[in-house]
Assembly symmetry: C2
Homo-oligomer: 213 residues x 2
């Protein structure tokens, strides 16, 4: 390794990163039950805005952890988020991670109806018979369709992670999902993304599986 | 779709997003040759900091586009970044995207030598016989090992996309990679990530393949 930089393995780097970001968070008060999620998102983004924008319905973290311990499956709206979720930890708890965005039938239905694949992929999620956590890091249309499916009684997720990123309909879709009555973890505002979605899932997974830093 | 939000398809949303972010960028002067990359990264992150932190070696974008048109392959340091690169566009140009982080031989070598898988995966990249673009969105150790391999003459990438995120060794590793003499696109500072790495690749890919918004 380069002489100027000490060689460290990922575990040590993670520990030191959390120590640094905890120190820099300083006086920002984060409720203890939100801490693991908020810190993992900041660790993933180096963006302290999330200490302010992450919103949790009461008991959301506990509910997510409980669902994962009961074998919940996770459905994401991007292959990137799917790739970022710790599949091994999830498998160890009896769950699995899905993303239907690349499925032929989803593409066909979306095209035929003039809607997004993200919206149709939420309908496909509604057909799953497992306890579900929906992790949306990209498509506001996924959140909007999800709110409709909830209202119609077609799906009742244990938790919605609503963290799409962007400039069009993103802010609004997050506000809608916070009014469905379903437990949520939402990054209010424009920021979010597949990496944030995966980071929230992993924070819950590590808590559910008893992994410590 | 929800009555409060107009139904839009991804293509329209993307166009409108770029219009909004272009307006908000306002007076920030971005050299025309960097515009596509900077805007796609902001589109992916909703974070205008990148207008300030993205650094380009002279001609880096043109070199990346040229390499892709000549069939360059892309190597990433995470499965997330790999999943985010437009594989179809890359394939159309004769390239492919690789990530060696999950490979058995990489894990074994890393364990035996007490180094990171990211470092070993750069060594594996050096064995590829294609023109190469390295896209590092996570591991500073990948950039550090890469700088050594360049110095030793073991690899000469056409372009390095150096955008790891984090609190430990990240800032330093980016400075090191900007001094190797290899064309680079780097997000100076702590921010970056797999999504940013993929966004930079896709901006270059869309330019190389003639895709317009």
């Amino acid at each position: 390794m380069n002489g100027k930089i000490p060689c460290m393995l990922p575990g040590e780097i993670e520990k030191q990163s959390f120590a640094i970001l905890t120190e820099e968070l300083g006086q920002i008060a984060i409720p203890p039950e939100h801490e693991a999620v908020v810190k993992r998102v900041i660790h993933t983004t180096a963006d302290f805005d999330y200490a302010r924008t992450l919103c949790f319905s009461p008991g959301a973290v506990a509910e997510g952890v409980r669902a994962l311990r009961e074998g919940a499956h996770i459905v994401t709206d991007t292959q990137m988020a799917r790739a970022g979720v710790s599949a091994r930890t999830l498998q160890g708890l009896g769950g699995a991670v899905h993303c239907f965005m690349g499925d032929e039938d989803v593409a066909e239905k979306a095209k035929a109806r003039g809607v997004t694949r993200a919206a149709v992929s939420m309908e496909k999620a509604a057909e799953l018979k497992f306890p579900l956590i929906l992790a949306v890091g990209n498509a506001p249309t996924a959140l909007i369709r999800l709110s409709e499916l909830i209202e119609e009684g077609e799906i009742s997720p244990r938790l919605i992670i609503g963290v799409p990123v962007g400039f069009v309909n993103v802010v609004e879709s997050k506000e809608i999902i916070m009014n469905t009555g379903v437990p949520y973890i939402v990054a209010r505002g424009r920021k979010g993304g597949s990496g944030v979605a995966a980071a929230v899932c992993n924070a819950l997974l590590y808590e559910a599986s008893g992994r410590t830093l």
